[in-house]
């Protein structure tokens, strides 16, 4: 109990004094995970829509890959991305190992299937005749996709929240491809693990509280967007 109390005090202290190291780590976490989520949405939502609506041979296999991707252990992703980015790896010439870019790449690989999978489910839940009706109204293919995405807004925002949640909380891949380098690739999760391994439990709890607050702030904003203008169904 004392450690938890210590942790809470630490968290308050870090935030109140605007501890520069904590701020730096927090902003890096937000930038890296935010960027990864953004790219995942740009890849995942169109992919999910296409998978939900098109019919082509191998579609079901592709969807099963996406679903498997949702359950990929982040640490496995980290390992495989490392193998690609190492100097001795095929992409070694890029020299981006141990940079925030590498973390963004690994986190995108983790989040994109999550976003795509939820999108497929969300679009799949729409009335099948709706696509037909919109086509009859004169929607071109892209207009149709856009309208369906709007109709499935609830599910797609859930997809984004899930994607962000998956990456802001992961530590295995971030450690492996980022290296937890102070001032460069140290994020809230890797910092927490490091402090724990040093035995600094109070500080670790403090940092984890900052992480929770960050995750909550972002999720809260997205939830507001998701629920904007919605009437609770049961009230009618």
């Amino acid at each position: 109990m004392e450690t938890i109390w210590q942790g809470v005090v630490q968290a308050i202290h870090l935030l109140y004094t605007r501890d520069p190291e904590t701020l730096r780590v927090t902003f890096l976490t937000l930038r890296v995970s935010g960027m990864a989520t953004l790219i995942s949405v740009l890849i995942g939502v169109p992919l999910g829509v296409l998978l939900a609506l098109s019919r082509f041979p191998g579609r079901r296999i592709l969807i099963s890959f996406v679903n498997t991707g949702m359950a990929l252990p982040p640490v496995v992703v980290g390992l495989w991305v490392s193998i690609l980015l190492w100097r001795s790896g095929p992409l070694g010439f890029l020299g981006i190992m141990y940079t925030p870019t590498a973390i963004v790449i690994a986190q995108t690989v983790i989040a994109a299937p999550v976003v795509a999978g939820f999108t497929v489910a969300g679009i799949g839940q729409l009335d099948p005749q709706l696509a037909l009706q919109l086509t009859a109204l004169g929607a071109s293919r892209w207009q149709l996709y856009w309208l369906l995405v709007r109709e499935a807004k609830l599910s797609i925002l859930a997809a984004i929240i899930a994607g962000f949640g998956a990456v802001v909380s992961e530590v295995g891949a971030s450690t492996m491809v980022g290296g937890n380098i102070r001032g460069q690739t140290r994020v809230l999760t890797t910092a927490t693990v490091m402090e724990v391994s040093k035995g600094e439990f109070g500080l670790a709890i403090g940092i984890s509280i900052v992480l929770l607050l960050l995750a909550y702030a972002v999720t809260f904003t997205l939830t507001l967007l998701q629920q904007r203008g919605r009437q609770p169904w049961l009230m009618r």
Binding site: F27, L30, R31, V32, G34, M35, L38, W86, R87, S88, G92, G95, M97, Y98, P100, T101, V104, G179, N180, I181, R182, Q184, V196, S197, K198, G199, E200, F201, V218, T221, L224, L225, R228
Partner: protein
């Protein structure tokens, strides 16, 4: 409306991922990034947090410290994934030099390992004269011993001590955490067990632990740190200039003094002993 501006702020932050403000440095070298592979215990001691800023300010190089297990650090050297290594596993380091993957292996500093355990000392380690003797007593008493079990420098030292003591480290009493020194000490603390630890980590965590130093000072307990350059002739992506600069820095008077002073203020004793210019043989001989 508020949501729109919040979204705008978030978007703005995201766009700055690539752009980091650069503080004005002296002459920034062509390739400023130097990858230093070292061990978690080295980083956790805090020594690098003192040394690196000095080096970075003097030279304009930026050190990327990758603190991992000894095994991984050496493997990184073996594959040319790092530019310079700072580790403390002499036997394996020598193998790396023999294979040609590493060059310019030079002694930097040393500290020592100690055997710690519960105050009650059920295995009666206190009073033994050598580490081997202490390990023998622990095995015979089947007292709980927590090992790092992660192929780190500490773990390798521990294994060599069991060997010297000619006892088997097997059984319910011998438990491996596979984790860093801090974690392992915490586990030993929780279970009232014995463990082998480097003095620096122990001192920095002492305030949280109920363990005591029960054996110290025996020659085999020296924990010796060498710096090595990853061979640029073998791996052309290595930042040879940056690595050399760091290598020279560690052996420089400035760094060696800083090493010798490290920890004195906080713990009353130094955590490391600078050995720049000496060789390993000289060190073990004097003990």
């Amino acid at each position: 409306m508020r949501i729109r501006s919040l979204a705008a702020i978030i978007l703005a932050l995201l766009l700055t991922v690539g752009c980091t403000a650069k503080e004005t440095k002296p002459e920034v070298p062509a390739n400023p990034d130097v990858i230093l592979a070292t061990t978690t215990s080295t980083q956790d001691s805090g020594l690098l947090d003192v040394l690196l800023p000095i080096f970075e300010k003097d030279t304009g190089y930026k050190i990327k410290t990758i603190a991992v297990g000894t095994g991984q650090a050496l493997a990184m050297g073996e594959k040319g994934e790092a530019d310079v290594l700072l580790v403390h596993a002499p036997a394996d380091e020598k193998k790396l030099v023999e294979s040609g993957a590493a060059i310019e292996r030079k002694l930097v500093a040393h500290n020592d390992f100690v055997v710690v355990g519960p105050k009650e000392d059920p295995a009666k380690v206190k009073g033994t004269k050598t580490a081997a003797e202490a390990m023998k007593k622990i095995a015979e008493a089947k007292a709980i011993f927590i090992s790092r079990g992660d192929d780190s420098g500490t773990h390798k030292k521990e294994v060599s001590l069991w060997k010297t003591a000619a006892v088997k480290n097997e059984g319910q009493w011998y438990q491996q955490t596979g984790q860093g020194m801090g974690q392992t000490l915490n586990v030993a603390n929780e279970k009232d067990g014995y463990t082998l630890t480097d003095r620096a980590t122990f001192l920095s965590l002492q305030k949280n632990l109920q363990l005591e130093i029960l054996l110290e000072g025996d020659a085999p307990l020296l924990n010796i740190y060498h710096v090595m350059l990853v061979n640029p002739a073998k791996f052309n992506k290595v930042n040879a200039d940056g690595a050399k600069a760091f290598h020279n820095f560690l052996l420089s008077k400035e760094a060696q003094e800083a090493i010798g002073k490290f920890g004195v203020e906080k713990y009353g004793k130094p955590l490391f002993f600078p050995d720049g210019g000496k060789t390993e043989e000289q060190l073990t001989a004097t003990k």
